[in-house]
């Protein structure tokens, strides 16, 4: 038992994948432990989908090794697919089948009967839509259906590619609570790709940030913040850019960033309480007026911008 719990469920070593001239993955390592939720965060084109599809056995890596539950994909397809549940970034189910019929069809692949279909309809809260054709479901309902299909076989490992993209905040929270519940009751493991920091923070204890096919950082949110050696942020708007003084003498200011379009300055500092009074008087002396001053703790967003130089949603 102890042994099983210390063996990773997913082990990916040095995964590389190139499409023509695009390097989608440039040597990625990933380990998922039992009942661990891991978020893959990255901007568009980072390689998230390519990575999860390689883990899912849908795409083949150019090189590198991948095992699920200690097994390779080749020769173990049926067995592995029985144990995992997944949803792709975009799947359109058959238009003229109802939600319940779609679930029933997938259930039959796992040898499951209608009781399980009913359970799933309850879990994803689609009982009222059971008789609606897929074509008549809203975007959010379709995503819940896709999640329901992923959950059918009570998978030990869930792999979800952007399960909440395009959903309203309520629908998103609904999906989060389903996933929280699953972890509590079944000890499921999950790999989830997302553009939403909030989602990663809320759902996953482990976060992997990838960009341009490389892992930039991984660990718990606390570890990432500690590693980045910044914890506090001071942000304000400069009204007259020409009067903005030189801050290079401030030793407790780690980093300063300008956003040209809005004239918003973001500063990473060690200790806001000691830095702030100095900063305000320094700006006053220079005659530089500011507005919208804010101080806050560092977020995943800030880390991400620091690491990739762009916003997640860019």
């Amino acid at each position: 038992m102890t042994d099983a719990n210390t063996q990773p469920i997913v082990k990916a070593v040095n995964i590389k994948k190139t499409f023509k001239d695009v390097i989608a993955l440039a040597g990625v390592d990933l380990e998922i432990m039992p009942s661990e939720y891991t978020a893959l965060l990255g901007p568009n084109g980072a390689g998230k989908t390519t990575l999860v599809e390689i883990i899912e056995g849908i795409q083949k890596p150019d090189s590198g090794e991948i095992t699920l539950f200690g097994k390779h994909w080749s020769g173990n397809k049926d067995e592995l697919y029985k144990q995992i549940g997944l949803s792709f970034q975009e799947t359109k189910f058959e238009d003229k089948l109802t939600a319940a019929e779609t679930l029933k069809m997938f259930a039959s692949f796992y040898g499951l009967d209608n009781t399980r279909v009913e359970e799933i309809l309850n879990i994803v809260n689609l009982q009222e839509k059971r008789k609606s054709y897929v074509v008549n479901l809203s975007g959010g309902q379709r995503q819940k259906l896709a999640l329901g299909i992923a959950l059918l076989n009570n998978p030990k490992l869930l792999i979800l590619d952007e399960p909440t993209t395009g959903l309203d905040p309520t629908a998103r929270r609904e999906i989060w609570s389903i996933l929280h519940e699953l972890k509590k009751t079944h000890g499921t493991s999950m790999i989830l790709t997302t553009h939403y920091m909030e989602e990663a923070e809320n759902l996953c204890e482990k976060i992997v940030i990838i960009d341009k096919g490389k892992v930039l950082a991984k660990g718990t949110l606390e570890q990432l913040i500690a590693e980045s050696k910044t914890s506090e942020i001071v942000q304000f708007k400069v009204l007259d850019k020409s009067k903005f003084p030189d801050f290079s003498k401030f030793s407790d200011l780690r980093e300063i960033q300008w956003e040209d379009s809005t004239n918003i300055v973001t500063m990473n500092v060690d200790n806001t309480s000691s830095f702030l009074p100095k900063m305000v008087s320094y700006l006053n002396n220079a005659g530089c007026k500011i507005s919208e001053l804010r101080c806050r703790y560092v977020t995943l967003d800030d880390l991400f911008i620091r690491m990739t130089g762009r916003k997640l949603t860019d």
């Binding site: 039959s108 692949f109 796992y110 040898g111």
Partner: protein, 364 residues
């Protein structure tokens, strides 16, 4: 396994029966077609043709006199003249004469509104038309006959319309429609269906489960084959009750040809769908295959009118083999041994394309 099989099969049926378009094209359309064409070309056809007449200004115009004395003023179209001739067993022919300038006549010809243009030169009637156009040629024969006062029904010859089963147009048409229906429902139903599932990424979602791919394919074949049989029965029943079309040859031979024809087009469908990722491309492929065959393979009219060099090729087009075999069983009373060659060609090529298609099939 059994559960998977029954689920997949029921899904395949539902998908089809819930698509009103598919139902229309495979069941209603062939019946409407046979009805419309069967009626239009039934024993005593009424024909109507249009001739533009360029009348010269002079009072002594022959054409002008002819129109005034021998034709009636059209009741619906002012300025137009009509002449009805009943050739008894050849059927009625109404000729519409439309007085017009040369320019107007040319425009009407370009628009396909008339078949022939009549002018007058030094007391002679000139007929202007494209001799390559059969309807124009026919119009020339009838109109010149009328104007010259000739009777097309010679006293030396007697017209005997054929009424024997198997020689009527409807007998020619029904087997062709059966073959065409099976071709299009296989190509559109299987090929297009699979390509669409691939482009929706549904195919890859299906194979990312323990689903048996073979069951998926088998259930699809079974369901499409059942449709092909239902289609055949529907059209044959209709043709039997309305036009008294019956299968004169061996029923076993008929079933064998339906099976091998379906087989061929299913195999072709798999091959077509094996790699095509996008529905527009799929659409193009399918149309590029079905359209020429529908025109060339003698579905609506005999391919014997095509140039001689093409006929040997046309004869071996799959749809031609299929339609001709059905025709000879229905109309000429052929048995299995008489159609063994097309039967084998269709089955073997069907099997080959099927396996090649599966071999190179892209699920992802």
């Amino acid at each position: 396994m059994l559960k998977q099989f029954t689920q997949l099969l029921s899904i395949q049926f539902k998908e089809f029966f819930r698509e009103p378009g598919a139902l229309f094209w495979s069941f209603i359309f062939p019946i409407l077609m046979s009805f419309a064409l069967g009626m239009a070309f039934s024993d005593k056809p009424e024909m109507s043709q249009h001739a533009a007449v360029v009348i010269p200004a002079s009072d002594s115009s022959f054409l002008k006199t002819y129109l005034n004395n021998n034709c009636t003023k059209s009741s619906s179209q002012k300025n137009e003249y009509e002449k009805n001739v009943d050739y008894k067993k050849l059927g009625k022919t109404t000729t519409h004469f439309i007085p017009a300038s040369w320019k107007e006549s040319e425009i009407m010809m370009k628009r396909g509104q008339i078949e022939i243009i009549l002018t007058e030169n030094k007391g002679k009637i000139n007929y202007h038309f494209d001799p390559a156009n059969f309807t124009s040629r026919l119009a020339y024969i009838i109109v010149s006959g009328m104007i010259d006062g000739k009777n097309l029904l010679s006293t030396k010859s007697v017209i005997k319309p054929l009424q024997t089963k198997g020689t009527r147009y409807i007998d020619f048409l029904v087997p062709g429609l059966l073959a065409m229906g099976i071709m299009s429902s296989c190509l559109w139903g299987i090929s297009y269906g699979l390509i669409e599932k691939r482009s929706k990424k549904l195919l890859r979602r299906l194979v990312a489960t323990p689903m048996k791919k073979s069951l998926f394919m088998i259930t699809m074949f079974i369901s499409r084959f059942v449709f092909a049989v239902l289609e055949t029965i529907a059209l044959l029943t209709f043709a039997y009750y309305v036009f008294d079309v019956t299968i004169q040859g061996s029923i076993i031979a008929f079933a064998a040809v339906i099976i091998s024809g379906s087989f061929f087009f299913m195999g072709l469908s798999i091959l077509l769908a094996s790699r095509t990722a996008n529905t527009q491309v799929g659409n193009g492929f399918i149309s590029a295959i079905t359209m020429p065959m529908m025109l060339l393979s003698g579905i609506f009219f005999s391919y014997s009118n095509f140039p001689d060099v093409m006929i040997p090729i046309i004869k071996y087009l799959p749809l031609t083999l299929f339609a001709d075999s059905l025709r000879s069983i229905i109309n000429e009373g052929f048995g299995v041994m008489d159609i063994i060659q097309p039967l084998l060609i269709l089955s073997i090529t069907g099997l080959t394309t099927f396996f090649i298609g599966l071999k190179i099939y892209k699920w992802y």
